[in-house]
Symmetry: C2
Subunit: 359 residues, 2 copies
């Protein structure tokens, strides 16, 4: 019996996608081999790769002048690789920091740029989004970087910020594909796959093509996005299994009605969770300012942390998995990515009410 | 019906490993989730990760003073990352170039070192190994890099070269685990997984710990091997699926009798192939000097290239897959990695004799 999986990442995949992959794991199409056992440069895999890109372009409405790359290294590698590709030594790049991942992005950028924290909500312990008019932006900055959804702190931007003519760079690892977005507002979007796209070990990167003209330092080809773009992400052997599963996930999203349907469902799931917390009379608590609450990751604490262990034990026994909160904030966290059905969230909300009554 | 898969990479995986993975794809152990859907920091996955490392250490006899890392980016990324970690700007690093991959390693190193081609067999069109006494090595070089097996040209070192006190660095992507080696002869061994280890998107890197003390330039943590080592390759989310499948492959290798048994089997497979070529009276031809012939990748041409298309069509119809040679050398190539059984090679050798008689 599969449980309801609230893992923050690597996270739940759509069960239909897993069943499909399972069925053809040894014999994929007419390949007489697994999809993992064929050349990435063969016609069969090239068709998978191209279809995945087409489906992603369709889902997100990605304009023609953006390249879509399927890379490796996790978002963390791209914390470093983005300034490597777009900043000359010592050039200012502005960072809006609303949680743990934004902090890391700043640190990893330092060898290749002068990252400037233009706004931070660290002093609220990352429970708010700093008001736009407080941001200290420089129109000469290489880019403005932000994290639309902070997985650990459960803080999410519900609007794309206006940063003028400076390219906006977004680490969308934990909320990409959770709702429609206007890609043309961004210079670059990147996302580790292991939350809303597929398995870990894959990064999707969407970049406006004028940015690929920047060439701030001599780089090995393997670190230059422009080289990957010129080779359709086949500069070297990609993570073919991850790419294939991402493609199946994109097809599944289309069958679900696309991103408008996912947004409705994700809103319903988040509403169920915040209702269970807010109507608990203080038994459960989420510290985030309501307008900045994440629809993807809902951290919450119990009124008495002595009950944490019991909550985890009973919830797991009830088939509600991976609810332990990140060590940085403690308590619990329910991640509600696309692959988690409304039914699973309803089961958790019911469990929470029942647990509160019993203890 | 699965075919006999001679793909150069991504390549055949052991069928038993695929069946095992298929069976538990939706419910892994008692996780009530797929192995792809659980946190890399949870106890269950940590056990997989640790067991894979233990098994690899056992198979290769890796000494205590070597770290084993499970990384991403393909060998190509490490062409760049190795000099990044071990060379100060402009420092000499010696390269022995016996084929395409060695050439690429030189190019990708250039932004971080002064790669010096200490020996090359380019003028033989990569059909020999330059004699050791012709190598122009510098005892002050940061390291000596070579490619024990060149996948495209089918050239393999059958002895580990003696390079004195300079650390020997080996891109062992296409022959790691094909036979026992003495790891203590090396400073660093690295390998893309997609030939003898597992699916693409994973790199195994074995590094002597004194090398990790080198710190030649400010680097983001994600590019520092020492940081990955300090975090047991969990500095960020690893390719968990690749790591898991690598672990299953290591267990399979143990069940097969370990690397001594694999060496016997691989030698038998290579002998069958070279015999089919050499005893064909010139119908088939392999251009590599016999002492440098690869046991993993056997490129060969037909006496009349007008027959290539027919050979490929008929072999594929006979269930002998992916025999088309690399565009750089043309003709055919049979890759004989660990997962390909002797039976498959026998089928190919028989087919070759039959084809020669009929055409």
């Amino acid at each position: 019996m599969r449980g309801w999986n609230f893992s923050a990442g690597p996270a739940a995949l759509p069960e239909a996608v897993l069943r499909h992959a399972q069925e053809e794991l040894l014999e994929w199409g007419d390949a007489r081999a697994s999809v993992m056992e064929v050349s990435h440069r063969g016609k069969a895999f090239e068709a998978v790769a191209a279809q995945a890109e087409r489906d992603l372009r369709g889902l997100l409405g990605i304009p023609e002048n953006y390249k879509v790359l399927f890379l490796q290294g996790g978002a963390t590698q791209h914390f470093a690789q983005i300034p490597m590709n777009f900043c000359v030594d010592g050039q200012r790049a502005d960072y809006i920091v609303t949680g743990h991942w934004g902090e890391k992005a700043v640190k990893e950028a330092a060898p290749y740029a002068k990252p400037h924290v233009a706004a931070s909500s660290a002093d609220s312990n990352y429970t708010v989004i700093p008001p736009r008019d407080s941001w200290d932006l420089d129109s000469e900055a290489a880019y403005v970087h932000y994290t639309p959804n902070e997985t650990i702190h459960g803080v999410e931007f519900h609007e794309v910020p206006d940063v003028g003519g400076v390219p906006l760079v977004a680490d969308m690892s934990s909320d990409i594909l959770s709702r429609p977005i206007d890609v043309s507002r961004f210079g670059l979007i990147y996302a580790g796959a292991q939350k809303n796209i597929g398995p870990s070990g894959l990064v999707v990167l969407i970049v406006r093509d004028d940015l690929l003209q920047r060439n701030p330092r001599p780089l090995p080809k393997i670190f230059r996005y422009a080289e990957h773009a010129a080779q359709n992400s086949m500069l070297n052997t990609p993570n073919t299994w991850g790419w294939y599963l991402a493609g199946l996930t994109f097809q599944w999203l289309r069958e679900q009605g696309g991103l408008a349907a996912m947004e409705r469902r994700n809103r319903e799931k988040a509403d169920l969770m915040y209702e269970a917390i807010d109507l608990s009379g203080g038994y459960y608590r989420n510290p985030v300012e309501p307008s900045a609450r994440s629809r993807m990751n809902v951290p919450f604490t119990l009124h008495d942390s002595a009950l944490d262990a019991l909550f985890l034990k009973e919830s797991e026994a009830a088939g509600l998995l991976a609810l332990k909160g990140h060590r940085a904030v403690g308590g619990m966290r329910a991640s509600l990515y696309n692959a988690l059905p409304v039914e699973g969230v309803r089961a958790l909300a019911d469990f929470m009410r029942d647990f509160a009554q019993r203890h």
